[in-house]
């Protein structure tokens, strides 16, 4: 089943996404057309957002890094989250902002010291995120720093969370990004260095994982600069396709600019 959250007639609504693409209210079964809603982050109470750097062997090569021997994990604020078909902004006066299409594992059950063997019992399902980065802002302190990775709107996620049972094996799923219809990133989760069970074990040894925590598992090679007006679609086989529109900083913030 695919679980989403949408804004419909001014209220937040939990829905399922049906086979024909229609949305069905979990509260009363009402069928709703996608055209009538605004998509929200599909996780109702987002907890800790973990993201992985350099977690695909091909991407680490692209950035001229040795593949890490230990996961490079960073945290993102919930201010970064936005839904499917929403705007994300390009800051003024920068040279290079790129997308990162990533498989996200959503934690469904609290746990600490979880073994690799039991790890998948703690995962509720999966979604797709676009973990944008602004390379101009990188500094060698807690790298990648919050200025690069915790900006408003720069973690579109969704469209929905799909139950893990509906996906099955995630060890070789195609990961693609299209910018304005052109294929710019094309990889597979087969190149993931530290997989979901490893990460659940690794993180839960450090800290308690809770429902609503999310692990974004990194991105394959294929970086490209983004500009206002671009439409970017991040897609993971069997999971979903997440669409985002790039706007300028001024357009995004409006009156607050």
């Amino acid at each position: 089943m695919k679980h989403a959250r949408v804004l419909f007639n001014g209220s937040e609504l939990a829905v399922t996404v049906e086979e024909n693409g229609q949305l069905k209210s979990k509260a009363d079964g009402q069928l709703i057309n996608e055209a009538d809603v605004q998509w929200l982050c599909p996780v109702e109470n987002p907890g800790t957002i973990f993201a992985l750097g350099l977690n695909y062997a091909d991407h680490a090569r692209e950035l001229a890094f040795e593949p890490p021997k230990e996961p490079l994990v960073f945290l993102k604020g919930t201010n970064t989250l936005t839904g499917h078909k929403q705007n994300a902004y390009r800051p003024d006066n920068i040279e290079f902002q790129h997308y990162e299409c990533e498989l996200v594992a959503v934690i469904g059950k609290e746990g600490k010291n979880i073994s690799r063997e039991d790890a998948m019992d703690y995962v509720a399902g999966y979604t797709v995120c676009n973990d944008f980065a602004i390379r101009d802002y990188l500094e060698n302190y807690y790298r990648p720093n919050l200025r690069v990775k915790s900006r408003d709107s720069l973690l579109p996620i969704g469209p929905y969370v799909i139950d893990k049972e509906d996906v099955g094996d995630i060890s070789d799923l195609r990961v693609t990004t299209h910018v304005n219809g052109e294929l710019t990133q094309d990889g597979t989760t087969k190149d993931i260095i530290f997989d979901v069970p490893f990460l659940v074990e690794y993180l839960s040894k450090i800290m308690t994982l809770k429902p609503g925590d999310m692990i974004a598992t990194g991105t394959p090679e294929g970086l490209k600069d983004m500009q206002p007006g671009d439409k970017v679609v991040c897609e993971i086989e069997k999971i979903g396709a997440l669409e985002t529109y790039i706007v300028s900083e001024q357009e995004f913030y409006g009156d607050k600019y």
Partner: protein, 216 residues
């Protein structure tokens, strides 16, 4: 781990903001892996599993040989704060409190320190929140930390690379802050070593105090 009634959304901490530490590290900043001094505030999150309260016992990190603590003045946002100037920054503060950041020793600032900083219950916040209207100038405050009754740090908020208003402004251009978000602005560079069972008390005289004890 204990839920905390003060922090609701994000707990952002500022590292390397003690001007004495910053000055002392200049040579190190120029070496690998840093290569140059930071030009921006060095920020990290303490995620929700770390949030704890006044009086709570702080779990000793599994397999850790040593732990340290730093205390900081913390601003609690009272309203949404997005892209504000330094001049208006303090208008968004609902109140002031303290944060204890228990962690593994800060050995490197190069990569996000998940192992060191994300321990369950390692960020007590409190005890009370002093209303912003009762604090004329946060820069004039000092945070005194004692371990088992002995003073281990006396950190004037004025001894920082960036002051409270500047940090709020800069951070508000990175991320929109919501009511109940907290920024810990002024940790001392010399984090104090602690042992199992130690009592840690921090105080801003006449404003707020925070008491915790390490577990066994």
């Amino acid at each position: 781990m204990t839920d905390n009634p003060i922090v609701k959304g994000k707990l952002v901490c500022v590292a390397l903001n003690d001007a004495d530490q910053f000055e002392a590290m200049q040579a190190e900043f120029n070496e690998a892996p840093y290569k140059s001094a930071p030009t921006q505030p060095v920020l990290y999150f303490k995620p929700h599993n770390t949030w704890s309260t006044e009086g709570a016992e702080v779990e000793w990190a599994a397999d850790a040989d040593s732990m340290v603590v730093g205390a900081s003045l913390a601003v609690v946002f009272g309203k949404e704060c997005c892209r504000v100037s330094q001049e208006e920054a303090l208008d968004y503060v609902g109140g002031y409190t303290l944060v204890h950041d228990f962690s593994l020793p800060e050995k490197s600032y190069y990569r996000p320190d998940i192992k060191g900083k994300c321990l369950d219950g390692s960020a007590p916040i409190g005890g009370a929140v002093a209303a912003a209207s009762d604090v004329a100038d946060p820069q004039s405050l000092s945070v005194v930390t004692k371990v088992n009754g002995e003073i281990v740090n006396d950190m004037p908020v004025a001894r920082t690379v960036r002051g409270v208003a500047e940090l709020i402004s800069t951070i508000s251009y990175i991320m929109t802050l919501q009511p109940g978000d907290v920024i810990a602005v002024a940790f001392p560079g010399n984090r104090a070593p602690v042992n199992k069972g130690d009592k840690v008390t921090s105080e801003i005289a006449g404003v707020v105090s925070l008491n915790n004890q390490l577990g066994q």
